[in-house]
Symmetry: C2
Subunit: 117 residues, 2 copies
Amino acid sequence: MKKPQALAGLAALAQENRLDTFRLLVQAGPEGMPAGEVSTALGVSPNTLTFHFDRLREAGLVTVRRKGRSMIYAAQFDAMNALVGYLTENCCQGVTVNRAAPVCMPAASKKRIKERA
Amino acid sequence: MKKPQALAGLAALAQENRLDTFRLLVQAGPEGMPAGEVSTALGVSPNTLTFHFDRLREAGLVTVRRKGRSMIYAAQFDAMNALVGYLTENCCQGVTVNRAAPVCMPAASKKRIKERA
DNA sequence: GGATTATTTCAACAACCATTGAAGTAACCC
DNA sequence: GGGTTACTTCAATGGTTGTTGAAATAATCC
């Protein structure tokens, strides 16, 4: 991961509504959830939420797909792992502790644990 | 870790000069380095840097101590691990992957690996 | 096609943030 | 004590960010 992307990710998460949104999506898993559900769950108005979704999407932290009239947003776990990796890069002065491994992985992509191990 | 603290940490890191500063300190290890060295290394003027150090310090990501006329700033590895932990909390839908373990740990506190394992 | 539901777009505004230059403090050296 | 080095404080300024309300688009239902 390069600096601009890391910066975008951190900026995207450094705002209460977006952090709440992202964590809600993380908990919702890779299937994601519709914008309206996020709106009511967090008590944030739809237009404000669209603004925040855009930021999260530009940072690569979420994806959208349309389903009927709903827009389904889902967390991008790989992006989060890359961000965490960037923060801990070059740390530990050679003492590698859990560095290569992803810190978060939804059930649906469980198989990847083997690939990376 | 609670939300306000996580938010402060993310906001602190979501700015180029601060992200660079923090990563430089992470690489410098727990001993830290003087403000002036960070200033010349990054090409950021001392007064601007003080402003950023303050934010990092308020977020708990760095500490300062005086040594002669220099101020030595050092990364707080525990704070960073807590922040990463907050992001990945409640994720994975029960599939625990590296969740409890710290992702970064400087050489000086290597012993703690045992304590937590 | 008209009404309804779900979400996005847009312009406007207040609040916050980063940088600068100048002045201030704190420790050290002679 | 006077001068120097290392940082910090302060006020001012331009730029960015988040929220709002109103209007627009997009898909569905009757």
